[in-house]
Structure formats: C-alpha cells, structure tokens
C-alpha cells in the first residue's frame, strides 16, 4: 500500500508546490477558525461582567491595555476593538480558505492530468501482448473511473485529511482550556462515536464491495440485452428477460438496502453524541456555575464549549468519511499502479537498423506461444521464404494460427524461438517505427475512428494529397461507395465506424493501409464482408498497381488466394503444405477438401 502511494505521489510533479501549500493554508484557516469562537466567547463574558478579567485567556492583555487608555466604564470602544479583531480573523480565515481552495484545485486537477497522461503514454507503448493481458475495457476503466476516484481522494487528503485531525486535536485542547473539567465530557463521548463509526464501516464495507460487483454484472447484463435485442425479439423472450432482470435487480436492491441500513446507524449515533454533549454541558455547567458562584466556569464558556463540541464531532465524522473514501479508491490506485508497473514486452534494440531494404520475408524455424506459461505452442517450426513482390495466400481453419503468423512480421509479437527476417535482417534489429512503416497490415479486427473519411485515411499518410486518397480508395474499391455519400470524402465516420457497413469498413481500412505505401502488405481476412466480385477487383488492382509490394493474403475463400504465387496451408500451428493452386489440388488433402466444399460440395447435395 505504501508503495502504491509512493508511486502515485511521483505524479504530482510540477504541482508539488500547490500540493504542499494547500494543506498549509488549510492549517492556517483552521487555526483562525478555532480562535474565532474562543475570542467571541470571551467577548460575551466581558460584556456580561466587564470588571472580571481573570477568565479571559486571549483578550485579557488587550482589554487591560484598552481600559487604561479609555477608562474602565467605557466598554463600547473595547467591544468594537474586539469585534474588529474578530472580523480581521474571519477575513484572514477567508483568505487562507480561498487560497487553499485554489491551490487544492490546481494540485488535484494537475495530479489527475499527470496521472492520466502517464497512463495513456504507458498504454500507447504497450505491445500487443500487454494489451491482451489487460483487456481494452479494463484499460479504459483504469484511465477514466479509476483516475477520477484517485483524484477525489487526493483532493480529500490534501484538504480535509489534514483539516479534520487538526481541528479535532485543536478543539479538544481548546475545550480543556476553556471548559476545564467540563471538557472531560468529550472524552466520554468520543470513544462511543469512534467505535460506532469503525464498526459501521467495517460491517458495511464488505457488503458494498460485493454489491458493487453485482451492480457491475447487472449493468453488464443490460448491455448484453441491448446488444442482443434482435435475438430477444426474434425468440419473443421479452418477458423472460424482464423476469431475469427483475430477479437480478432485486438481488442488488436487497444487498444495497442491507448495507445502507447499517450505514443508517451513523447519523443517529452522531446526533446522539451531540445531544448528549448538549444536555451534559447544560446540566453539569449550570450546576458548576451556580455552586462555584461563577468562578470555575462562566456563561460565555457555555457557547464556546458547545461550538467546540460540534467541531470535534464533525471532524470525527469527516475522518471516518475520508477513511471510507480512501479505502474504496485504494483499489483504483492499485489498478492504476498495475499499469504503471507493466513493462512493454517489445522494445527498440540498442543500435536499430533504420531502413528496410525490400519486401523479402523469411521465417527460420520459428516457434511461438502467447505466454511463457502456455503449454501449447501457437506456431511451431515454421520455415518459409517469401520473395519481394510475391503474392502469398494463407489458408487454414480457425485456430490454425494464421493471424499469429503474420503478426510476427511487423513485430507485433516476438518469436519464442527462431527468427523472422524482413529484407534479410532480423525484425528485432530494426527500429520499430521503421519496420512498421514498411509493413502495412490490415488487421482482422479493424477499427475506424470518429472523424471524416479523409481524416481516417490520413492515418496511413498524414501528408497524403486528396488525389492520393482517391487513388488508394479506387484501388480498394472504396471510392465507388464513398462517391455515393452526400458528403463524399468528408463524410463523418461515427466512433467504431458504426455508420458504414462491414464491407465498406474493410475497404476503407485497406485504403488506409495502402496509403502507407508499404513494402509488405498483409491482409488478414480483410475482405470477408466484401462480396466476391469486389474482392476479386481489389486483388486484381493490387496485382496490377503495386506489383513490387509483397502481398500476404489470409482468407477463408479459396477464390481469394487461388491466384497467389504461393499458397501456405496452416494446420494447428504448423505448415501443412506449400504450393500453388494446381499443385496443392494434387497434393494437399486439406486444400482439396476446402476447395470442394466451397465450389462443388453444396451443389452435390441436390
């Protein structure tokens, strides 16, 4: 826990001064706030019996001095001066409080900014392996909700966490000075309150933690329902879904109610303590006052003592609240630290090669598994030679590691053993940016970003001219549908590309990659949602327009790969056969099987 706090504290950075000033100013504000009731109480005492100054601790010297100059009977000027002092104290307190508020806001917002930036930059440097480890949704939560939680706690700590304990101690001291024996009444009450607060949070916290998880699940199931609404409606399962949801929601309700019922003790107990104090002070105080003839205790002390009593209880309340808040955000802090501690598994070499000569690709005895612990290799003993400019088709069933194979080329993952060479040089020796610029890859699970089509395309090449954009889109057969949009290339793509169809999205993604003018172009099942005719046109355009680029096509359809120079058949992470369409038809059982299933198989049933 200490480590976590230390790590997070380093993100305060340039806001250190604000972060230190803020509690200091709060301290000053509290001192002022503590003096004000004390002096006000003395003022009242003074008004009541102007001749008796023995009980006045703070104001006695001032009053004596004043009495000498204005005389003993004229008390109005003295009252005025004391009031002026009080106003000055209040103004000082106002100033300190406001400044503290400003510094605290700067510090906490700045801290959050640094934290977010740190996390974001870290996440940008993550390798695919790192990303796989944290799922994307958990990364997003850490960067948003968790940061907000930690920021809130940070603000609480530099503001209230110092204020409340200080207020507590100071008020107790003052209570003893002002009230003498009377202050013992606090010592009776405080443990009761403290005990209740601790017990309540101890009982309620685990329930809350549990119910929050359930609550997340409930929301997850709503999301599932929204996403699967077509299924729900098709199967006419609205009532069933309602029942399911009601049960889950009711479960959440019960747990929440249970926890809140426990929390409900807090307020009455706090009030009980306050009332107890009030009654006690009034009762014991009057007795003391009368029996001592006003010597042990005076009237002004009544209100002062009561004011301090309130402050003590309030600060206890605040401390318990801070305690609950920070323990809750501690989990957020831990999650954030997990990201900070994560090391990117792919790093630039010491003396990187900054040029990719050509599009040759060689796999030398490559084996790969996704994690050290995994028993099964995703790829084993892959040997493959691809010449610059060749078109290579890769086919194989799901789980045959087609995507894995090609992700080794731009070093999205590192091999477990063996080597992958691009342009004759081991990919691990290249500068990563250089390598990835040279290797264009259209991922299977591809995304477009919110922004216009133009902006999306320029991911491939920031400086591409409009003509180049259109050219790339013509190659990928995207131009035809873009021209059909009212705003053409300025059409706004929604987040996640939800306003274009799957096939359109794929074609835009291909165009985007083409704009990189890569030496190696990899299409990972990138035309699955495109119809056969367009698919064929795209392949034809590529063969004709970028003949020098090495093209690797992963596909489900035989038609997508059958005209490739080399076809690789992967099966269970191993190369099953290599050849061209004709030779494979002769030699490979798997190829023949796929071919017949796609071209003839269905027809034979008739």
């Amino acid at each position: 826990m200490l480590k976590t706090i230390k790590k997070l504290a380093s993100f305060v950075g340039e806001y250190k001064i604000n972060s230190i000033l803020s509690p200091l100013l709060v301290l000053l504000e509290v001192v002022m706030e503590c003096f004000i009731p004390a002096i006000a109480g003395e003022l009242i005492t003074f008004i009541q019996s102007p001749s008796k100054l023995d009980d006045l601790i703070f104001t006695k010297p001032i009053i004596t001095a004043m009495q000498k100059s204005v005389g003993y009977d004229n008390i109005i000027p003295i009252i005025a001066v004391l009031c002026a002092i009080l106003v000055v104290l209040a103004l000082l307190s106002l100033m300190f409080g406001t400044l503290a508020g400003i510094h605290c806001s700067r510090a906490s917002c700045g801290f959050a900014k640094n934290l977010r930036r740190g996390l974001y930059e870290k996440s940008q440097d993550f390798s695919f392996e790192n990303i796989d480890k944290f799922s994307t949704s958990s990364l997003v939560t850490r960067l948003t909700t968790d940061v907000t939680n930690v920021q809130q706690s940070f603000m609480m700590i530099i503001r209230t966490a110092i204020r409340s304990p200080f207020m507590f101690v100071f008020s107790i001291i003052m209570a003893f000075i002002v009230g003498g024996k009377m202050a013992w009444i606090f010592i009776v009450v405080i443990p009761i309150l403290a005990f209740t607060l601790i017990m309540v949070s101890k009982k309620a916290m685990p329930i809350f933690r549990k119910v929050f998880k359930k609550y997340d699940k409930l929301n997850g199931s709503i999301q599932e329902n929204v996403a699967g609404m077509r299924v729900v409606k098709s199967f006419v399962r609205e009532d069933y879904e309602n029942e399911k949801f009601n049960a889950a929601s009711d479960d959440v309700r019960n747990d929440f109610t249970r926890a809140e019922k426990i929390l409900a003790f807090n307020n009455p107990i706090m009030q009980f303590c306050m009332y107890f104090l009030m009654v006690g002070i009034l009762l014991v105080g009057s007795n003391l006052l009368i029996s001592s003839g006003g010597r042990a205790f005076d009237v002004g002390n009544f209100s002062t003592l009561l004011a301090y009593g309130m402050q003590i209880l309030m600060s206890l309340m605040m401390v318990s609240m801070i305690f609950v808040m920070t323990t809750m955000s501690l989990e957020s802090a831990n999650r954030i630290c997990e990201i900070i501690d994560e090391e990117s598994t792919i790093k630039n070499p010491a003396n990187p090669v900054n040029e990719v000569k050509n599009g040759d690709i060689t796999f030398e005895n490559v084996s790969f598994k996704y994690s050290q612990k995994a028993e099964k290799y995703a790829l084993s003993s892959i040997n493959l030679n691809i010449k610059s400019g060749q078109t290579v088709g890769i086919i194989g069933g799901t789980g045959s590691s087609k995507s894995t194979l090609i992700q080794l080329i731009p070093r999205l993952y590192d091999v477990t053993s063996g080597r992958v060479l691009v342009g004759g040089i081991d990919v691990r020796d290249y500068d990563i940016v250089t390598l990835r610029d040279a290797v264009g890859i259209v991922l299977q699970k591809n995304v477009l970003f919110s922004g216009t089509i133009k902006e999306n395309l320029r991911w491939g090449n920031e400086n591409a001219t409009d003509e180049e954009l259109v050219r790339a889109c013509q190659l990928s057969c995207a131009d035809e549908f873009i021209q059909g949009f009212p705003e053409k290339y300025d059409t706004y793509i929604e987040q996640g590309g939800t306003n274009v169809s799957g096939g359109q999205k794929q074609r835009l993604c291909i165009a985007r990659t083409l704009l990189k003018k890569p030496k190696i172009l990899i299409l990972d099942d990138s035309t699955s949602a495109v119809d056969t005719r367009t698919d064929a046109m795209i392949r034809k355009a590529m063969a004709e327009e970028i003949p020098d680029t090495t093209k690797i096509i992963i596909a489900q359809r035989i038609s997508s790969v059958q005209d490739a120079d080399v076809i690789v058949i992967l099966d269970d992470g191993k190369i099953n056969a290599i050849g061209n369409h004709d030779s494979l038809l002769e030699s490979s059982e798997i190829y023949k099987e796929i071919y017949t299933s796609q071209m003839k198989g269905a027809g034979n049933d008739e």
């Binding site: 008004i47 406001t98 997003v140 609404m229 299924v231 006419v236 109610t257 006052l289 169809s501 099987e593």
Partner: protein
C-alpha cells in the same frame, strides 16, 4: 445494422445541458410517491420531527443561561450558594429534561427516517430500473438501431446514479433544511426582532455571493463535464483501436492529441473545482463575520439596555438572547449553504430524470395483430381444432370480428411478399417493388452486394420494421394481422453477429425453447453439429459463458446459436450471413448442421459465398434494393446474367 440510419454528428458524451422541462420534478415526485406511499409519509413526519429537534435547543439554551445569569446576579447581591442552587437548579433540570425528551424523539425519528430511506431509495431505484428495462423490451428495433448503445446504457448508470443522490440525500435534506430554517426563524422572532433583522441581512448578502460564485461555477462545471466526456471518449476509442494505432505507428500523434484534450480538461476542471472549493470557506467566513456583527450589535443592545421586541412581547434585552442568537446564526447560515449546495445536485439529477422519462415516454412497438398461433390437432372429422397439449401441429387462430367466427389455418411456412416498398426513413426508399414467393419447405436465397437490401427483407418478414407499401402474407394471412409475438415465434433467426448471453451453454441453447428438457437441448445441439465440441469443453453443457461468449471461437458460438434456433423448431428459418465469419472448414461442419436444420422448413438464406446458396430452390439477386434476377442456380447460370458473372467470376481469376 444502422446502415441507412445515420446518427447526426454529435459528441457521444457531455451532452449540452438543455433547459429543464417544466414539471419534471413534480412528475418525478409523483412517481416516487406512487412507489412508496406509506413509507414516504413516515419519512416526511420523521424529517419534520428531527428537524424541529435540531432547531429548538437554542430556546432551552437561552433559558438555562438566563436562569444561571440571574442566579449569579442574586449571589453577587448576597444570596448563599445553597439557596441559589435550591432556587435556580430545579428549573434548569426541568428544562434540560424536556430538552432531553425532545432529543429522544428527534433521535428515534432520525433513526426511523434513515432506515426507511434506505428501503425507499433502493426500492425506488429497483422499480425505476425494472420499469425502464420493461419499457425497453417493448421498444421497436428501430430504437436500438438509432440509439447508440452507450447512450442507452447511460440511463442505467449515470442517470440512475444521479437519481440515487436525489432520492437518498437531496430531497430529504431539502425538506429538512427548509423545516429547520422555518423553525429557526420562528424561534428567532420569538426572541428578538432586532437580532433577526441582522441575521436576515447577513443571509441576503451570503445568498448574493453564492449566486455570483455558483453561477460562474455552473458554467465551468458544464465545461468540465464536456471536456471529461471528450477525453474519456477519446481514450475509449484509442484504447479500443490500440492495435491499429500500433500498426500505423500512430502513438506520437495519439499522445499529442490526448495531451491537448487532457490539458483542456485540466484547466476546465481546475476552474470548476476552484469555484466549488472556495465556496465553502467563503460561506463559512461570511458566517463568522455575521457572528461578529451579532455579538457587536447584541452587546450594544445589551449594554445600552435597549428594550427587546419579540413575538412574545417586550422585555429587557438579556445576554442569553445574544448567546442563543449566536447558536441560531450558525444553524441558519449552515442550512442556507446546504441549500445552495444541494441546488446543483438537484439540477443534475433532474436532467437525469428527464432523460429517463424520455425513455419511458418512447413510443412502444405497436401490435394490432389478433391472429394467434395455437397448438392444434385434427378431430375425427378431419377438422383442425385448437388444443392445449403440444401436438407438434400449429395453427393460426383467426377470429373474424364481423361474424364472430373463428377459423384455423395450419401453420405451413408459406411466405409471400407482394410488391413491397420500404425505406428506413420515409423519403429514402431502399427496397423497390420486391415480390417473393416462398412455398413451404423451399429454400430461398438472397445474393447481392453489401447494402443491396438483403437484410432489410428479413427485417420486414419478422416485422422489425413495417413495410411502406405492398403486402406480406404468411400462410395466406396478412402479417399485419398476426400478433407480432406469434409471428416471431414461428420464425427462427440465425444472425451473423452471434449474441449469446451470460449463463451456461445449456441455458443459451434453452433460450430457444424455455421449457425444453436437457435431452431436447442436447438433441438440438447434435442436430446442429455442436454436440461434439460442447462435450470437449471443461464443463460440457454446464460451461459458463461470460461477456459475449468469450473463450469460444466465432464458429463455436455460431454453432450454439444454431442449436438455439434448432431447439425452437420453427417452420420458417432466416439465416442472415450465418456462416460468413466462420472459416470454410468449420463452415462445412456448420452447414451440415444447418442443412439438417433446414429439412422440411421454409428457409431464407443470405450469404456472400455462392457455394452456400447454390442448392437453393430460388435465388434472388438483389441490386440497389431491386430484385434483378430470380431462379434456381441452373436457371440463373443459363440466363448468363449477373449471377452468372458472379459465379463464374470466382473461377475466372485462376
């Protein structure tokens, strides 16, 4: 699926705050009240009691101090301590005892109030949630096609959360505050008009300052919300596209753009927080200054022996009055600042309430159908009659309102579209003059480019959308007359995007027919060729699927969804690109499953791969919303039209 319905360009979060509709608050209160009448009244009474208990001690305080002061004076003029104690202590004890009793009442009501509130709050939220969820189930598919999932979800998360605040804290606190303020005012007036006047002036100044700060605070707060929305939206988008970012070496640019958003967020939230964080010290210290004024004016009144005027009459101004007023002023100002703090929370919560009402007011899917699907059997005369048992024979029960007779038509699966026109938005027709005749047991295939309108046709058959013109008949009955639930029950659907639900594999299969036995589900899985891989799963049919069925491959998930459709056993099936995300080797397994499923059913198939549709009875070639060719595979090949081109095109590229 919202291919044609484009959302207007808008930031996904941080919606601009609209002016609140009038009546939202009272509607919300009415709704809450309707959930929990009695508890609400109890809470209301409790709040009143505890508020009064909090407010009145100052009266007793004043009384005690005045009594003690008198005692002290008497003692100064010679009364012995013993006599003073005897004379003045008993009334003090009586007063304090009364106070203690009031406190006990206050405590008990505070306790009842918070406990009841826990029940009321969570109960109301639960009822609200189920109300929303139930409503959502009734909405037409169009709603889901035109609303972003994130926006729908935020009703259940953000909006409900802000209402939780409103119900559990803001509303009781406001009632509490108002009652305390009223009580305190009455007490003040009963003590002294002059001093009350001072406090009222002070409070006016304080409200003015709060308004000033609060007003600009609200503006910055809104800006902060917008920046937060923009930043979080950006993070979400980039992290989701992280792999693409890496592939394009976009990291530096992405960091740069993030930095800009992040810095803006920082400055906006600093501004907003400064307003929020300085409000309290300002209010507090204004309260202190007011306190000082009270002391000053009070002591002036006291020393000058000014006659005090109050509701109870006129008397000499006492020091007890001053002390009591000091306490009262604290209470008064604290409650005023409470009120100003709550006002922001209330506005936010009401905005949430309004959004929830929008969902609740959404037009539900209308269903004027009266033809229902019933179990049927042939009686001894060979007449089709209704029965309660499951016979495996289904019939459409068609009541005729004109003569009060009922006719039964056997469910066959004959679907006909006659000159159908349709557009997702009124002025943009995407299907033109589409006619399709599917006889029972036939396999009808749709072929065409993306966006040609294939999926749209299936959306019309199960009435996710209603046609603009033309007619669709099911077993000779206009589908507008059929109850939607019964219509959909007679249609099985397997979609490209497989949606499985959290639960076991068995639960997911049983989704197709809730009263299916385990044996039936397993039999369905066997028919769909899913049985063998399910057996291989760690827990077999009891394997839990979480999220969107993670852990299973796309193909395996599709197989489960086919088994789900199989167990429902509908006479008509719609397969919308059911196999396009499955690799071809798996597809052969899946298609074998599907072929078994298609036996004896009317089937509509949409597919990219011509191999999947080749053996269909009729193939429709769609282009830009029109059927341009129709016929069997052999017919179409013979026609040498578009289909022929498509088909041979795949071979030509050798």
């Amino acid at each position: 699926m919202n291919k044609t319905v484009k959302n207007p360009r808008q930031p996904n979060m941080g919606r601009p705050m609209k002016k609140l509709k009038k009546g939202t608050f009272s509607r919300f209160l009415k709704l809450l009240f309707s959930f929990y009448k009695a508890p609400f009244i109890i809470v209301l009474i409790c709040i009143c009691l505890s508020a009064i208990a909090t407010a009145c001690p100052s009266i007793f305080q004043k009384y005690v101090i005045d009594t003690v002061s008198t005692a002290l004076k008497e003692m100064q003029s010679g009364m012995s301590t013993g006599t003073a104690l005897d004379t003045y202590l008993p009334p003090v004890i009586t007063a304090v005892s009364i106070l203690a009793c009031i406190y006990v009442v206050g405590l008990v009501s505070a306790f009842i109030q918070t406990r009841t509130m826990a029940v009321v709050t969570q109960g109301s939220l639960h009822k609200l949630r189920t109300l929303m969820f139930g409503k959502m189930q009734k909405l037409p598919i169009k709603y889901f096609d035109t609303h972003a999932r994130g926006d729908i979800m935020s009703h259940y998360t953000n909006d409900i959360d802000s209402l939780r605040q409103l119900i559990s804290q803001s509303i009781p606190q406001i009632i509490n505050t108002v009652i305390i303020l009223c009580t305190v005012t009455v007490i003040m007036l009963s003590m002294s008009f002059w001093m009350t006047l001072v406090i009222v002036c002070g409070v006016i100044v304080m409200t003015f300052v709060t308004k000033k700060i609060g007003g600009s605070g609200a503006k910055y707060f809104r800006m902060q919300q917008e920046s937060l929305g923009a930043t979080e939206g950006y993070v979400e988008e980039m992290i989701n596209g992280q792999k693409v970012v890496k592939v394009f070496n976009y990291e530096p640019k992405s960091k740069e753009r993030f930095d800009k958003l992040n810095s803006k967020l920082c400055s906006d939230s600093t501004n907003a927080n400064i307003r929020a964080n300085t409000l309290m010290p300002i209010m507090n210290n204004l309260g202190h200054i007011l306190y000082v004024f009270l002391v000053l004016i009070g002591s002036l009144l006291f020393t000058n022996g000014v006659t005090n005027v109050s509701i109870t009459g006129t008397e000499l101004f006492t020091i007890g009055t001053v002390v009591a007023f000091l306490g009262l002023s604290k209470q008064f100002t604290n409650n005023v600042s409470q009120l100003s703090q709550q006002s922001n929370a209330i506005i936010m919560a009401l905005a949430g309430a309004e959004r929830i009402f929008e969902l609740l007011d959404e037009e539900p899917e209308v269903d004027n159908g009266y033809v229902t699907l019933v179990n049927a059997k042939y009686d001894e005369n060979g007449q089709l009659t209704e029965t309660n048992e499951r016979t495996g024979i289904w019939a459409w029960k068609h009541p005729h309102s004109a003569d009060g007779t009922v006719t039964y038509t056997r469910l066959m699966g004959d679907v006909r579209l006659n000159e159908v026109d349709f557009g997702y938005v009124e002025d943009k027709i995407v299907l033109h003059d589409v006619s399709i005749y599917a006889e029972p047991g036939q396999k009808i295939a749709f072929v065409g480019a993306t966006g040609a309108g294939k999926t749209t046709i299936t959306n019309l058959i199960n009435r996710f959308y209603d046609i603009a013109d033309g007619k669709i008949r099911y077993d000779g009955i206009n589908i507008n007359k059929i109850k939607k639930d019964d219509l959909r029950r007679s249609l099985g659907v397997v979609l490209q995007d497989v949606n499985l639900f959290t639960g076991t594999v068995m639960d997911n299969i049983r989704y197709g027919k809730l009263d299916a036995t385990d044996e039936e589900c397993i039999a369905a899985a066997k028919r769909a060729n899913a049985h063998s891989f399910i057996e291989m799963l760690p827990d077999g049919y009891n394997t839990m699927l979480t999220g969107s069925g993670s852990g299973l491959s796309q193909g395996q998930r599709q197989l489960i969804s086919i088994a789900r459709a199989a167990v429902a056993d509908p006479p008509v099936m719609i397969l919308d690109e059911a196999t396009s995300s499955i690799d071809t080797r798996t597809e052969s397994i899946v298609s074998a499953g599907m072929d078994a499923l298609m036996q004896g059913r009317t089937v509509f198939v949409i597919a990219h791969r011509l191999s999947t549709v080749k053996n269909s009875d009729v193939i429709m070639v769609l282009d830009k919303g029109r059927i341009i060719e129709r016929g069997s595979h052999d017919d179409l090949i013979a026609q040498k039209g578009k289909y022929y081109q498509l088909y041979t095109g795949a071979f030509e590229l050798e």
